[in-house]
Symmetry: C2
Subunit: 456 residues, 2 copies
């Protein structure tokens, strides 16, 4: 995938060399020659990746990186520090300033394309998620910048040679990670599907006879490991094969013998990216479930109920299996609020929701319909059974007192319910709810704490 790359270096020939290499690969290249220029271009042209020289007069690369990270407009753009210094402390400083990766000068083509392609691939995905989450102007996105501890990651090493894998494992364990070692592809595939989920796999290209890249291809082909960071370990002599590896989705690579600091740094950058992606994903997941659930009780909300009910009725029309619903309303609930306060009222609503939710089948659906009204949808359940369920739930609520704040002896809660069963394939969800509501009204009129079947 092509992408826009911002190249920043104070030395013109350095910029030109990188520009030529990237342009030949059809990347879209923009350039800057100092820190101020870099910050300007980063905002104006929204590049996908920034290749950032460390040593520059005036503002150095570390400072540029820090400023990019402070600005919400540029915070999410991956930064690769380009450094002539092999000094480890510089890499650490780079990572602390918020860089995502680094390259050593003179720049090797393999390394360049490896870093850039893998950053672009992940960014395409995270941009898409960010854009979706941002639709509502969600201010929560900004919290994603916060850094989490990276220790304690689950790392799998796949290598047929004990002495190599053991050395890498020792170093990662020293860094605080949980490391497992397996010797071949089959074991690796098995572990990759098991719990706890892996955060990183380090795969040797040569699994005594088996091709390590084939294993990488298989991991990329599984839903569960499609986004798992993959570090390929290879010998200098295997470098010609690396291009294929990057194409199939390897995230980064290490050359044997693996340098201890290189290892830690590469592992760290992969884990950082993975965490970001995970945080973004779970934020979006939480947002999506908020759209469908009632914040107080965690039950589905009215909006979701309506959509779900229509769908179940359509399925019923196809399969001719009955669908029943139960609409129930807590008896004299206003008294709870008025006499014991809203906190007590809220506690009752939550516990009703929990008791009922745990006492119906998992494919039944509980929704909060309004203030103190709830609905249970029971697919594939006829009128007779639905009435029995409703009566079971009525006893479940009425027979055991509720604990509420400020009332030691607890509180007796009851409900009145109407149960309606859809048999006419033309009946809509609203009509079905209306019938249940009429039955509920009768239940209230008949003295409350009871279940009434709706008229067909």
């Amino acid at each position: 995938m092509s992408a826009r790359i911002l190249v920043v270096d104070d030395i013109l020939p350095n910029v030109k060399v990188l520009e030529a290499k990237l342009t030949a690969e059809y990347f879209d290249v923009i350039t800057a020659f100092d820190g101020a220029g870099a910050l300007e271009r980063a905002v104006a042209d929204s590049p996908d990746v920034i290749l950032l020289d460390v040593m520059m007069p005036g503002m150095d690369g570390f400072e540029v990186c820090r400023r990019l990270r402070q600005d919400p407009q540029t915070r999410h753009i991956p930064v690769v520090m380009v450094t002539a210094l092999t000094d480890v402390s510089d890499r650490v400083r780079g990572l602390e300033a918020g860089a995502d990766d680094f390259l050593s000068k003179p720049i090797n083509d393999h390394a360049l394309f490896a870093r850039v392609r893998s950053l672009v691939r992940l960014k395409t995905l995270t941009d898409e998620l960010r854009a979706r989450q941002a639709t509502a102007g969600s201010s929560e996105l900004e919290d994603l910048g916060a850094e989490e501890a990276l220790a304690g990651a689950h790392v799998l090493i796949v290598d047929a040679q004990q002495h190599r894998s053991q050395r890498i494992a020792d170093q990662l364990r020293q860094a605080g990670h949980e490391v497992e070692i397996v010797g071949d592809a089959a074991e690796a595939m098995q572990r990759s599907q098991a719990e706890p989920a892996l955060d990183l796999a380090i795969v040797h290209i040569d699994l005594s006879g088996q091709d390590g890249m084939r294993l990488c291809g298989q991991l990329r082909s599984q839903e569960t490991t499609r986004q798992l960071p993959l570090l390929l370990v290879l010998d200098e002599s295997d470098l010609p094969r690396l291009a294929k590896g990057l194409e199939l989705g390897v995230s980064d690579y290490l050359i044997e013998p693996v340098d201890r600091n290189e290892l830690r740094a590469r592992v760290r950058t992969q884990l950082r990216r993975r965490r970001y992606y995970h945080r973004l994903r779970s934020l979006l997941d939480r947002t999506v479930s908020m759209a469908y659930t009632d914040p107080l009780t965690g039950a589905y909300n009215r909006r979701y109920l309506k959509a779900h009910l229509e769908r179940k009725l359509m399925e019923m029309a196809d399969s001719s299996k009955p669908v029943s619903i139960m609409l129930f309303d807590l008896d004299r609930f206003k008294l709870v609020n008025d006499e014991l306060g809203h906190d007590a009222g809220d506690a009752v609503l939550k516990e009703v929701s929990q008791r009922v939710g745990n006492n119906v089948r998992s494919f039944d659906m509980l929704a909060r319909y309004g203030g103190e009204e709830f609905v249970v949808i029971m697919p594939d359940t006829d009128a007779e059974h639905a009435l029995a369920v409703a009566d079971r739930l009525r006893r479940l609520i009425g027979e055991k007192r509720f604990g509420v704040p400020g009332r030691d002896e607890g509180l007796t809660v009851t409900f009145s319910a109407g149960v309606a069963t859809a048999t006419d394939p033309m009946e809509t969800g609203d009509q079905l709810l209306k019938r249940a509501d009429a039955a509920l009204y009768e239940a209230k009129g008949g003295g409350r704490d009871r279940v009434v079947a709706a008229r067909p």
Copy 2:
């Protein structure tokens, strides 16, 4: 990116040839030899792409495709029909059965990798979106299967040669599309950023001197056109360059002279995929905004208010600019519901929300706090100005009657409001709301239809 491919053909050597080609590219290949086997594998192994032979004894490819489309578990898996027949009617039948693309036997490697890679790339993205949307068990996802009309798409043709572009344009216009033609890359880039948004670009590889693939790279590097379908037009002799094109993100290609039916079919498959992606995206966008808005009024909901307010207060602590809030509650609203019905009540809530929303600044935020209570957050606004705004809004609501169903003369609505300004950086959102609430209580006690400033 690697992926899992299911190859289906009744003739063993055909399966073996495809398997060998795909395996050499590190795809993970699974196979089936008839329709029943294909359906089984599709469910059990969730492939990313299915290459499906048309002519098979028993269940033919069209029928397999139709069944894959009926099953919610396999509906979203891209299907490429592989046909020995060059007959156009077969392609049409394939598309009608729900195929996403097709390949002609004998299979050309370029064509094979082009189709597979482009399907996998989009699927990675749509799988991610589907997974997010599915978090809450959203049943709405299933509606995405429904087919929309494909005519009326906005297609851009980029070619320096008038006679070629004109011929393609004529054919697409006959198919009901809106076609624009530009002669070079600069014009194309310009058009790509303008309205109406493009649905497809058809780019000739040779733009008299300019490299058409460079333009494709640039389009892929722009946020707005990253997912735009790109068809590359090239001569037989340009085929060696195609691999790079596919790598940079070209979606598919056409060989000059472009066959009329091939053109229509390729355009159609690209548009279908784009529509699917768009529908998925906007479903997720709607879902996200549902999470943050009140369904009745469209104002932000209480959940969003809380998060947003905390953030504004944190920003205030950094910048020491004041933040003010106004909490208002409609006067004697219960009477509206009781005397005129819930529909009238709902209409009032909606109109209040509209009037207020249109009369505060776009960075001010209106949220529905509860039944008939609303909050306006005013960043960078001190107490004196916030009181003036509150009083302007009070007049805006009180001075012009509301139209309600069943009451021709309309209805006078008023509110009582409390205004509080955060000055202490340690004050929380809840504390600020509490102060505003106390002021609101005073306003009610003082006779309603008034604004009261909160005590510090």
